[in-house]
């Protein structure tokens, strides 16, 4: 029972954060108008301003983000967070995990509604597509914090630690250069789509381009920053030998199977 409560506690802030974000995205055109970012074209389609309720929702979301980041806890199969960036990455990971659950739920709902009740929804497929975009992008941050991105250790592992540090530094600089280039080239389009609140042009018409385009750049920046944070955090660590497999995965399977037998 205590285990269940621990998980529920871990889910609390991420759930509130997702809820607040959903409610905010639903009325986001009003935010664009109120903040004065709207163009004349935009004003001819949308109208309305945000009220106190919207601001409270945003505030709750920010509080959930801050508290969730500060109180995030890790399990024994995860690399422990060492600083605030790691904690933030873990928190975003938790949010993403809940998105996966929502995705499965939406898909199940759609199949049941379509084949059993003959009442297919307009929204389910597009909602899945939209959420999966966030899942794909943000899972990269979690994988980066967990040092899980696939690297080839053939040569790396036999190098002296100082050379390893040099290699890592070069890698991180290149990643930062990549992130810089992406923002340099993609900022214009991402900003324009965001401010236009561009929708997908489909039946349910979610603001998929408006949200995913900027998220691509944000996710790349976050991953690049995380790689820098990892470099600093691992700088003085002793060299580890790397196995081609994730040993924590094996541990977790073994644990579950022992629990049952």
């Amino acid at each position: 029972m205590g285990q269940n409560i621990k998980v529920l506690k871990e889910i609390l802030w991420p759930s509130i954060f997702i809820l607040s974000l959903t409610l905010t995205i639903a009325v986001f055109p009003n935010f664009i108008i109120t903040l004065g970012w709207a163009s004349d074209d935009f004003l001819s389609i949308h109208e309305g301003k945000i009220g106190l309720v919207n601001l409270i929702v945003v505030l709750i979301g920010v509080v959930a983000l801050v508290l969730g980041t500060l109180t995030v806890s890790h399990s024994e199969n995860e690399i422990a967070p060492e600083n605030i960036f790691d904690k933030f990455a873990l928190f975003i990971g938790r949010v993403t995990m809940l998105l996966v659950v929502s995705l499965v739920t939406a898909m199940f709902a759609e199949v049941v509604l379509r084949y059993v009740f003959e009442a297919p929804t307009l929204w389910a497929n597009e909602l899945c597509l939209w959420m999966s975009g966030f899942v794909f992008l943000l899972s990269g941050l979690y994988a980066m914090q967990q040092r899980n991105h696939i690297r080839i250790y053939l040569l790396y592992d036999i190098l002296p630690r100082n050379i390893q540090r040099l290699c890592d530094t070069v890698s991180v600089l290149l990643i930062l250069f990549f992130a810089f280039s992406m923002v340099y080239g993609g900022f214009g389009e991402a900003q324009a789509k965001f401010l236009r609140w561009e929708t997908f042009g489909t039946a349910w018409d979610p603001p998929l381009p408006a949200t995913i385009k900027p998220t691509i750049l944000i996710a790349i920046i976050l991953v690049a920053v995380q790689s820098l944070v990892n470099l600093i955090a691992d700088w003085n660590k002793v060299p580890q030998s790397h196995s081609p497999i994730d040993e924590t995965e094996v541990e977790s399977i073994v644990q579950q199977n022992q629990r049952e037998s």
Partner: protein, 531 residues
Amino acid sequence: MFDIATISIILFFSIIVLLAIGMPLGLASATLAIAVLCMKFGPDFLYGRFGMGPLNIVAQRIYGILTGYVLISVPLFIFMANLLERSGIASEMYNSLNVWLSRTRGGIAIVTSIMAVIMAAMSGIIGGEVVLLGLIALPQMLRLGYNQNLAIGTICASGSLGTMIPPSIVLIIYGLITETSIKALFTASFVPGFMLASFFIIYIIIRTQLKPEDAPLPEPGPDEVESGEKTKLFLTFLGTVFGGIASLLFIRVVFFTVTGQNEVKEGVDLITWGTPDYIYRFGLFILVIGAFLAFMGISRVKKSWNMGKGLVAPIVVIGVVLGSIYGGITGITEAAGMGVVAVLFLTIIRRELTLPLLWDSLKRTLKSTGTIIWITMGATALAGAYTIAGGPAYIANLIVGAEMPTMLVIFIMMLMFLFMGALMDWVGIVLLVMPVFLPIVLKLPVEELGFFGQSLEPKHVAIWFGVLFCMNMQVSFLSPPFGPAAFYLKSVAPPHISLTDIFKGFLPFIAIQCLALCVLVVYPSIITIFL
């Protein structure tokens, strides 16, 4: 700025250098995508004005793959496999399979292979499978005094079948980046997958018959059933299972008829096994099965059910996933989603699902998703940039212009895959190498592919090459120095079994995999049997 020959050479060496210094694969390719654009257009043009320019192509490529519906099946299949691995379904299945073959020579090894095939048909990844087989079957085989190499090889080779038998995450990613129908790839890989599995089983049978000391028979248990009776029990169990499936299909077709969903409409495909005439067919079938079961007697039905019921959960999962894909009910993505739901329901019924288990599976899912998707993003960006620079066409012309014999080109590619597979993860190979290799293969004269059988239709060449690649990656899971199956087994094997021992046990099985690969190369039309 540079011509494509120079860009290609620089790119080739930069990839090697970046991978050698241990840069994450996905981010290395993404960075090189920028570099290729830089070499093509020159930095002045690229970084001329902030916020726009050709660099945005990379972001657009990434956006393009992120909004593909099929890609969603990747995290879903991973999630499903993670749930399965943490449930007791596998160990129960082992008991239910073992009971039928316990008196056969080499029985546990054969059971291990069959179990691996069933697990492969449930999930599309490897890793967990090898771990589970290592946890369940290895101690049994070692306890009975099986030859250690045979035990190890069987577990790892069979455990790697996960990506060869549909659903397969290798084929999903291949289909995504080459724009090949994933359903066709799955269909095409059925025969080669089962062929490979049956090669393993034939090898085990022959070896244990020739050298019985490799697989000693266990002492018969006190309540051991004699073999004639066992056959009857097995037939009874099969009857029960088929009867159950037929009843479900019967209910389904009755439901369709009552709600009128299966009325014949112009332009709408008929529902598979769902038109009203199937009421009579299934009804008749159920009656026949019922008579058979009545003949066998209720006590046998009960007994056989208790012996085999561990197979029911896997059959349900396979039925849901493959049934969704091939029954024309849903696409690959929904099939994966339904698979997750089916496994969740099964674990709830079995009282295994706990919140921590679910949470742990999600963490695993997220990790694997993050790594695979970010490599996909990075490599797609690189492939896109390289295509803009004219790379694949240049290389294809180079190879085709060299006028090498067609099969020599295929042979060299296979060798390169085997070599790269020994050093790199399959996902890196499919994403980085396939955009270069596949255009070459598609340009080769189709009638010269293979030595036996009819020549392939041009539209099947990409499918054939995908299955060929998938078979090739089977070897990569076992090949030293990094064959992941070896490391998975090492982590759960008794400490006295060293990594070298494990790789030694692989040798005959690697030979079998190469044999299957050769069959696929010389006889391409084997993939079209079900297409």
